[in-house]
Amino acid sequence: MKKYQILIASLLIVPFLTIGQQVGEMTMDMKEGEKIHKKRGYSPYAGRYFPTQVFWGDTHLHTSNSLDARAFGTVLGPEEAYRLARGEEITATHGEKVKLSRPLDWLVVADHSDGMGAMNEIIKGDPNLMSDATVKDWHQRINQGGNEALMATMDVINSFALGKIPEVLIDEDFAQTVWDRYIKTAEKYNEPGRFTTIIGYEWTSTEDGNNLHRNVLYRDNGDLARQMLPYTTTESFNPEDLWQWMEQYETKTKGNVLALAHNGNLSNGIMFPVEVNPATGKPLDENYMKDRIKWEPLYEITQIKGDGEAHPLLSPNDEFADYENWEKGNLNLSTAKTDDMLQYEYAREALKNGLKMEAKFGTNPYKFGVVGSTDSHTSLATAEEDNFFGKHSGNEPSAHRSKGIVGEFEGNKIFDWELVASGYAGVWATENTREAIFDAMARKEVYATTGPRILVRFFGGWDFESGDAKNRLPAEIGYSKGVPMGGDLYSAPKGKSPTFLVGALKDPYGGNLDRIQIVKGWLDKSGKTHEKVYDVVWSDMDQRKADKDGKIPDVGNTVDVANATWSNTIGRAELISVWKDPDFDPKQSAFYYARVIEIPTPRWTAYDAKRFGVEMPKESPMTTTERAYTSPIWYTP
């Protein structure tokens, strides 16, 4: 009986506890939680308070307020960004008309806090005002356009990276004016229930060119957000200082903020430190770990500058790990990548290391959920292969994209064709409001896709059985028998292994689904971490049988690259299954997340080649296998 009670407790109460523990007070309040998770009566529809809908958005869009975006030529501001995201047709910087295939539900315009709005001035203002030699030089070169402008913009980014920011760009009054106007616009476009504008900014720490960027998102309305200026790297490059700022903000305003990092792949080994604190060079301490998970419940796992889930060198047995990784160097390419850096850069490895750190220090700093976002600098939140407007206005659609360069440092180059048309964030929220979306993020009931709006449900518990996959209300079963993505399982009941209900429905506009996998990471007795990717359900299971190494044959490929088309004659529209961990050891801590893989479809480069009649470089991939990554569910003994 006692065990039964514990089980019930772990299913029903634990989700609230963990929410409270991990992200402090900024999570959904208890009442909301009770509503969502409460025991159900007879009628399946009565008291349905759990999230029944995914709200799609982008946590990471830059506009002309961002120094580098403006330098690259973007003339569109937050107003245009919101208009496009809510479904309107607008004109992109280079004059091309653009519209999303369907609206997004919410958007975070997250401009760089450093020099917010300043670049607009440099370009627009009287050239004579540039008595600062550096700024004058930038101004002249940026206005020359072409390659010179690109190089100048790289210089701008570098100067920020090195903390050598001209005084004229960090004037506080000016920042307040820009911030006030930003907030005013966000308030104007926020329509709860229809389209939500979440207030936010990017803290762009790039010391020595190594990317430690964080986006800060507000649960609050403008009246609170405007009370403090966004934190900048003029104040500090160290994330710990950002967390302090967040603490101050919450204390002062009684509001709520959270942060999410991105592009560990451009951090050159310092995004997910395990032993040494990169900021101080000293061993990581418990404060770092506690603060990190308190303030950073999410990580942006995929975006235009590379997919950060896994790396083939870290996951040699994962046949899908080699996907759109950027691995040439740090953000400004000033230091080349070495293999030993990778283990501190990718999400899966960080999730594994988090288990190790928890065993040692009692806190798992990397117990994060995941989202995808664009990080586009065009004011255009485009992440679809057939509608991709690039990283910045220098690589908006044109024939030039077959030859263009995104960044260059001493011969080390990243080309336009390497840009990834990724990603979006799916949020299982109870309604489309700032509060509900933020709360879902805080409890990590969110997931990432590389662009397509694949619907993914993922629940973990002890009692899912195969029949549950046939139920037409999987959420009903999911919430009543387990915890959703982002949740926790504790203390396995004797003789039980964790079971997972996982289902995915293709994007109605996108490719069919090849398979759903569950990725498991765990910590063994000796303190070593492991990972394994399990194929859980796939199309044509009766024909596609695993070979002796357990490998499922490829789903095939229907892409006609020359015409940039494909047919959904392979794969499935819907996949759903219940999976039980066959290798479970109740004494070992573990995490599980689902990865959904689409059939091959044309990559944006194929659409460009077709539409502009150009040839893409031989190295450029022309097909892609888009995917969704859910936030994990953790098991703690």
Binding site: S101, K124, F174, T177
Partner: protein
């Protein structure tokens, strides 16, 4: 009016006016005794901006210190002006240029559109504000996940059921995670769930019989429409905020161009460039509008 007072631009304008007045005063006295007046208006401003930031009133001590700061700033500012330190200072130039820009942007919002303006704007752009199509319908999906020729299977069933009551045809086709009956679902929602073609096709179908199959992102559907509502023009009042926002946006765009064009008329712009580096045709290109 209260809203107007909180407007930073109004502060700026009034502050600017006050400065002008002060400047006049100072000059009149021919560099004699300079006077800095702290009046009720200044106090109100100082207190209001404190309150905005700290959500409470300043204490007497804080207020005094704020005033001292203001006086110091004002004195330095006045002296700096006398020394022409504002000339060719990039920060000041930049700020002033930005203020001009903000001014033009804010003019659009500061002069609140009249009721007639708003109504006119609505009349001219009514199409942008139509509510989407809305449908109540039953659907049966035939998914390629479960059959080789879903379209044919759909057609076969259609010939059998035709005008049958939807309640009699339950449990046909395939099971997918969306309902058999969609009640008062608008085109936007259908677009999200099933793709845009689906709702577009529904528009052309009649009410009260099984039709199709029509294609969604998931397969072929037979549909039985019970109710169809064509796009409606919303009540003016219900979209007032949206209209206001959009009109402001449109005015802002227009005004910005207008003001710049007007101001530019007052200036002659000449290019004195090294013809070796920039030939005539390039200069002509620069001069293009």
């Amino acid at each position: 009016m209260k809203k107007l007072i909180q407007e930073p631009l109004v502060h700026f304008l009034l502050f600017g006016l006050a400065l002008f007045a002060l400047y006049g005063l100072v000059n009149e006295k021919d560099d004699g005794a300079n006077i800095i007046v702290i009046d009720d208006y200044d106090m109100k401003n100082i207190i209001a901006s404190w309150e905005m930031q700290w959500k409470r009133l300043p204490t007497d001590e804080e207020l005094k210190s704020l005033i001292q700061q203001n006086i110091k700033q004002e004195i330095f500012y006045q002296e700096a002006l006398k020394m022409n330190l504002d000339h060719n200072d990039e920060i000041i130039k930049r700020r002033l240029a930005q203020k001009m820009q903000f001014l033009s942007n804010d003019l659009a919002t500061i002069t609140e559109p009249s009721e007639e303006d708003l109504i006119d704007f609505f009349e001219q752009n009514a199409d942008n504000y139509l509510s989407p199509y809305s449908f109540s319908f039953y659907q049966i999906i035939f998914s390629p996940d479960h059959r080789n020729d879903p379209k044919k299977d759909a057609l076969d069933l259609k010939t059998k059921v035709e005008t049958s009551d939807p309640e009699q045809v339950k449990n046909q086709g395939d099971s997918m995670p969306f309902p058999y009956f969609f009640e008062n679902t608008d085109a936007n929602e259908l677009q999200r769930q099933l793709g845009n073609k689906f709702s577009e096709e529904l528009e052309n179908l009649v009410v009260g019989q099984w039709q199709g199959p029509i294609k969604s992102g998931f397969g072929y559907h037979l549909v039985y429409i019970v109710d169809k509502t064509a796009p409606q023009r919303p009540e003016f009042e219900s979209i007032r905020n949206e209209l206001l926002r959009d009109l402001e946006y449109s005015n802002q765009q227009k005004l910005d161009q207008l003001i710049f064009a007007e101001l530019k008329k007052k200036y002659e712009i000449e290019y004195e460039l090294d013809p070796e580096k920039f030939d005539e045709s390039f200069v002509a290109y620069l001069k293009e509008r």
